[in-house]
Amino acid sequence: MVKRTALLALLAAVLVFPAVFTLPFPRHVMIMIFLYGSLAVAWNILAGYCGQISLGHAVFFGIGAYTSTLLVARAGLTPWAGMAAGAALAVVFSQAVAFPVFRLRGHYFAIATIAVGEIVQTLVINWDWAGGARGVFVPIKRPDSLWNFQFHESKALYYYVALGLLLLGLAVTRWLERSRHGYYFRAVREDQQAAASLGVNVAREKHRAIAVSAGLTALGGTFYAQYIFFIDPESVLSLSLSILICLVAVLGGVGTLWGPVVGAAVLVPLSEYTRVWLGGTGRALDVVIYGALIMVIAVLQPAGLVGLAARLGRGRRG
């Protein structure tokens, strides 16, 4: 009961935030928390619940970003159609690569996902029609319109769309947690052989997990493209993005509902405000502080920030 009231209060606070903070930068920080939170939530479905650590999730993000942007720039479609198409394409792509890649386990699976990511990035760099290494601009359309998914005057609508993406990811995760498949996922994570011996179709459950994860990640890609209006292979398909998605979830707490959100809520402001505070010195001190804090958390609390909170909670009760 207390928990539910706290959650409702948090949701209300998040909903009125744009009315209180009208400057673009605080809103931008919140939008980035929602975006990276939703990406980490999507990643967490495959890696946290099903135990398949992917370091190639930028591919799905990139598919979402490129599909909608190319449909907008070359065919004049609304980005919302592109968003649906991007998510569908990401699901199809995830199923195709999953066949060979899921034959590998543990570290080998993770390495294979890195390889997939690098291959896709290289292909796009050399693909002229998609802008190659030069990237693609989303054609700017004024005035603001929901249909065109472009808001130049105020970030409030971006804010709510990003929040919607995060809530969608959380709802899917919550539903999975309680559904049969959620139990199958966790069984696969704990022990594939044991799960199979109990009648779980391991291959099919893994395919399910990556399909949901890929689709949700692609939605974030389209959002990014419509928010920044420019994408290139380096910003939407790079390994560093894949690792960042993973880092957010791991720092917050893998395999928990709220872990990825907590991770994003800590990491994003940390990175943004240390950069604003120290970035201009040219000594990269902000990056040092950012890295050091991640190390401290990882060493002191391997179960992530959510694990730390749970431990403190237990301590109080005991």
């Binding site: 673009p24 002229d128 040219g282 990269a284």
Partner: protein, 418 residues
């Protein structure tokens, strides 16, 4: 008292814009990579930007008329220039966020940045949206000034200018030495860099009446370039024009020597052929190789403005002025000059002043003809230079009036080298 009144009266009459309230400060947002792989560019530029601000604030003296006129920002009656530096980490989304933060929270008058073409693209979108002038001193993607933006100004040459200078050189060199260069052989690698370069070279060859006798797009990071060099040898063009990154450039030079291919002139697209590793690996065998460039350190001694600035810069940065800070300084001074002439920090007054910019070439540290923007915001008076590798070092050989060495032509055949 009456004297003060007279000055105030005179300036009011001279500049009607001054009737508005006088700003005490001119705050400029300067956004560069300060961390990540390109951080050196941002760090080296920071020192030169600080110098530029000190010159405008009268704290540092650069004794040349253009800079003297700016001293103390007389157009704004001594308003102080303050720079806010920010780091975009080479990421387009960070650049956009920083631009928005600087505009809305720090209330900057204008933005300067940002090295990477991709980041310049998103930052200038934010500036355009807010109606704030954006000065770009160095990004070289030609498309940046083709977006129909009203607040975007670029002082530097872009990729097409750089290839143009090669053809200007051919024309002037033929006239000067009385030789005829008719045929070109193009080899370019198959990533974006090579593909773009190949296209521009072919377009310009056609426009200027040169015959392309060989046109090869080769596989980047090739393990063998034997067949490419054989075909070059067979076609024997008057000028060989390769576009390569470092490893390919080195392999080309080694293969040329092995197969006894003797081009009389080699004109390269910067990148691999100008990298320190290329010079270290095959510098001796690559004697006479030429390349386009925007600026060269050996020009400092020849240009009084550059020499004076280099004395200040090297003391602060611990190294000589080179391409990046040289272009950064030129961009910043152009903006400061416009703000001073605008006599105000109002965005549209500065935009108007930027459009009216006219800086004579001899006041610049660059070898350009000056600074003057066209309607797209591109400086039309830019000029690249041509360097030649002579005795293990690149020297400026063109434009002839700023050259530090004469062109070595033809490049001696392998059998005639010691």
């Amino acid at each position: 008292m009456s004297q003060t009144l007279a000055i105030v009266l005179a300036s009011v009459l001279a500049l009607p814009a001054l009737a508005a309230a006088q700003p005490r400060e001119v705050v400029l947002g300067v956004v560069y990579p300060m961390s990540g792989p390109a951080a050196q560019a941002g760090v080296d530029n920071k020192a030169v930007f600080e110098l530029a601000a000190e010159i405008a604030n009268g704290a540092t003296d650069l004794p040349f008329p253009f800079y003297q006129r700016l001293k103390g920002m007389p157009g704004l009656k001594g308003a102080k220039v303050r720079l806010i530096f920010a780091d975009h980490q080479g990421k387009p989304d960070v650049g956009q966020a920083e631009a928005e933060r600087l505009i809305t929270q720090e209330k900057v008058t204008a933005l300067v940045g940002s090295w990477h073409s991709a980041v310049t693209a998103t930052m200038s979108q934010a500036a355009e949206r807010h109606g704030v002038p954006f000065l770009n001193p160095e990004s070289s993607s030609p498309g940046l000034t083709r977006r129909g933006f009203k607040w975007f100004f670029r002082t530097s040459p872009h990729d097409e200018h750089f290839t143009q200078v090669m053809f200007d050189f051919f024309r002037d060199f033929e006239k000067k030495r009385g030789v005829k260069l008719k045929t070109l052989g193009l080899t370019y690698e198959d990533t974006l860099f090579g593909a773009d370069s190949g296209k521009v070279m072919k377009d310009l060859a056609k426009k200027h009446g040169y015959e392309v006798v060989l046109d090869i797009q080769y596989r980047a990071r090739a393990t063998s370039l034997q067949s490419e060099v054989q075909r070059l040898k067979g076609a024997n063009p008057d000028v060989w024009m390769p576009t390569s990154y470092q490893t390919d450039a080195i392999l080309f030079t080694r293969t040329m020597k092995e197969l006894d291919f003797n081009p009389k002139m080699i004109m390269t697209q910067d990148a691999g052929h100008i990298s320190p590793d290329f010079i270290a690996a095959v510098g001796k065998d690559a004697e006479g190789t030429m390349s386009r460039a925007p600026f060269s350190t050996d020009l400092i001694e020849k240009r009084p403005v550059a020499r004076a600035l280099n004395v200040l810069y090297s003391k602060r940065a611990g190294k000589d002025l080179y391409d990046f800070p040289a272009r950064a300084f030129t961009g910043m001074m152009t903006l400061l000059d416009a703000i001073n002439r605008a006599g105000s920090t109002a965005p549209d007054a500065i935009q108007k002043a930027l459009i009216a910019t006219s800086i004579p070439g001899e006041q610049l540290i660059m070898t350009w003809d000056g600074v003057k923007f066209d309607e797209t915001g591109q400086n039309t008076l830019v000029k690249g230079i041509i360097l030649q590798l002579l005795g293990g070092k690149y020297h400026t050989v063109y434009p002839f009036d700023v050259a530090t060495k004469d062109v070595l032509y033809p490049i001696p055949a392998w059998k005639d080298r010691k």
